[in-house]
């Protein structure tokens, strides 16, 4: 029997900017599938529909070959009969029950002895056995996260839905928890839908990524495919391209595997990787701020093909990253630097610099 989760649904859902149509079609295999998108993209609505807490307008949802929802067959299995584990964004631990009672809650059908054995085993597996008599309000955020996960997993669900389960955790706690989750998944081969809006988590976890924007799937595939080779601008924004330019193809260099593109914001020409395009066709180029280099003197003997003279307009500090806005003849680049680099190069507004763009840092997207 296949453990796949098949989803093909449409649903109108409200969000702060009006209302969107959630319109998705995908199949999640056993293992992690990351659902990635900005807030308001419809991620939680999608999970609610799969869990049965919210009804789609139409479509079909099936897990392990069994239909849970089918608008044509007028079939809609009640949430409490679906056996789908769901860890909510706010965890939804029962405040009047202890950690152990929370974990045992889903084992209603078992005898008291069996319930105790199973929930204690799960508490141990998640290293929260010592907290079993405490209530949710008496334990830390990371511990609450573990209780919520243990509570969902102990019922041996047919699929697991996790709504930003790591959002509130620091990095070491995150990776520990992910390790525990992976280990569990090796013994219980079920699909895990993991919702996040954090790009870092996508790389840390992903087997398969579904990128959601305004209710639609805009990209799907392996993390490096989806995150590094965006073909749509929405993807670029979500995946962190600070620089996106409209460009026209000037020349193809098939022998070198590159082509020359002129940015429409000014005189700047970039040598980019060769894609299937014709001279004169228009496309978009995305470049990460962190992939750009700044030099205070014109660099020589560098492998990078694009070295553009410009002037620093502004510097802004965000956490430990300095973001420099550089004007290269009318085209503005956002370049990310370390604090140390800013100080060593004595960078400031008005200073003349060279922006260095590697060919393979230029990501091409269709328009």
């Amino acid at each position: 029997m296949s453990a796949d989760l098949e989803v093909r649904i449409r649903k109108r859902f409200p969000n702060p900017e009006g209302s969107f149509n959630l319109n998705v079609h995908f199949r999640a295999l056993a293992g992690f599938t990351i659902v990635f998108g900005a807030s308001g993209a419809g991620k939680t609505t999608l999970l609610d529909c799969i869990a049965g807490l919210s009804d789609p307008d139409e479509g079909r949802i099936a897990v392990g070959g069994e239909d849970l929802y089918d608008s044509e067959e007028k079939r809609n299995v009640a949430a409490w009969k679906r056996r789908i584990g769901y860890v909510h964004q706010d965890l939804a631990l029962f405040p009047h029950l202890t950690a152990e009672e929370n974990v045992a809650y889903g084992l209603r059908a078992l005898s008291a002895d069996e319930r105790r054995t199973r929930s204690r085993d799960m508490l141990q597996a998640f290293r929260i056995d010592h907290l079993r008599d405490r209530r949710p309000a008496q334990i830390s955020g990371g511990e609450r996260q573990r209780v919520a996960l243990a509570r969902a997993l102990v019922t041996q669900p047919r699929a697991l839905l996790l709504d930003e389960p790591l959002a509130a955790l620091d990095r070491p706690t995150k990776s520990l928890l992910v390790g525990d989750l992976r280990q569990w998944n090796q013994h219980h081969r079920v699909p895990i839908l993991f919702v996040t809006h954090n790009g870092e988590e996508v790389f840390a976890l992903g087997d398969e990524v579904i990128m959601l924007d305004a209710g639609r799937i805009v990209a799907q595939g392996q993390p490096h495919e989806v995150m590094h080779a965006p073909r749509l601008e929405t993807v670029a924004h979500l995946s962190g391209f600070e620089n996106i330019f409209d460009a026209t193809v000037l020349a193809l260099h098939e022998d070198r595997g590159t082509m020359t593109c002129r940015l429409e914001t000014g005189e700047v020409e970039l040598e980019t990787p060769l894609v299937r395009a014709e001279v004169g066709s228009r496309l978009r180029v995305g470049v990460r701020g962190g992939d750009l280099l700044l030099a205070t003197e014109q660099p020589h003997g560098l492998s990078a093909r694009n070295i553009l003279p410009g002037t620093i307009r502004r510097l802004a500090q965000r956490d430990v990253i300095v973001s420099a806005l550089v004007d290269c003849g009318g085209t503005e680049f956002e370049v990310h630097l370390t604090l140390a680099a800013r100080d060593a190069l004595e960078l400031g507004p008005g200073k003349s610099v060279w922006v260095v763009v590697k060919t393979h840092s230029c990501h091409l997207m269709g328009t």
Binding site: W80, R82, G85, Y86, H88, A152
Partner: protein, 224 residues
């Protein structure tokens, strides 16, 4: 101090508030979770006794219980006497009179339970009724105590409905508030004063319980 009237009143209030737990919980459950579009009409009807003059409510109850109504005739054929001017009639009138004081705190506390808790309970295999029993009711303890205490206190002090439905029969329908009225009518002020003071103190004590419980309801501690 008329102890007969005092115990009659306590018996009435205790019975009514206990029955209202049984009647009020299903009504509040329905009001909280129903998605029926005309639900607001039922909400308004349940709240009516708060604004209606007790004499109006009492009048209709009297008519409904009398031997001309189907209900009154049915009861008469069953027991041989009418419901009007009996303790049972008083209980029915008081149930209606105090209904909103039980249903509204119940419904408010049911509605205050986080929807995500209900969703989590469903995903863990519990039906809506099981969820209500294991999650909603325990988390609504303060609302239940409040509804019980408010309907008790409210029944304790009712006057108009009792007078209309029950009349003033010693030992059967004469409650404390009617007794106080009688004492004042016969210029027996010291006795009226005594009884009034007892009613005042009891009502204050009951309301203190209500506010005390609701203060604690927001503290998550080791109490159950």
């Amino acid at each position: 101090m008329n102890w007969e009237a005092f115990w009659l009143t306590v018996r009435l209030a205790g019975l009514v508030s206990t029955l209202l737990i049984a009647i009020g919980i299903p009504i509040a459950y329905w009001l909280t979770y129903s998605r029926w579009r005309w639900k607001f009409l039922i909400e308004a009807a349940v709240a009516l006794p708060i604004v209606l003059p007790p004499t109006v409510l009492g009048f209709y109850v009297l008519v409904a219980l009398g031997s001309r109504s189907p209900l009154g005739r049915w009861w008469e054929s069953l027991t041989g006497h009418t419901l009007a001017f009996t303790f049972e009639g008083l209980v029915i009138g008081s149930l209606l009179y105090s209904l909103p004081f039980a249903v509204q705190p119940f419904a408010a506390s049911f509605g205050a339970v986080e929807p995500s808790l209900l969703g989590a309970s469903a995903s863990l295999g519990h039906s809506p009724l099981q969820t209500f029993h294991r999650i909603v009711l325990p988390l609504s303890k303060a609302g239940l105590v409040t509804g019980f205490a408010l309907s008790f206190a409210h029944t304790l002090g009712e006057f108009g409905v009792v007078l209309m439905v029950g009349g003033n029969i010693p030992g059967v329908t004469r409650t404390i508030s009617i007794d106080i009225y009688d004492q004042v009518q016969t210029a027996n002020y010291s006795s009226a004063n005594q009884t009034a003071l007892v009613l005042l103190l009891i009502s204050f004590a009951v309301l203190s319980v209500v506010y005390g419980v609701n203060r604690r309801a927001w503290v998550v501690g080791p109490w159950r």
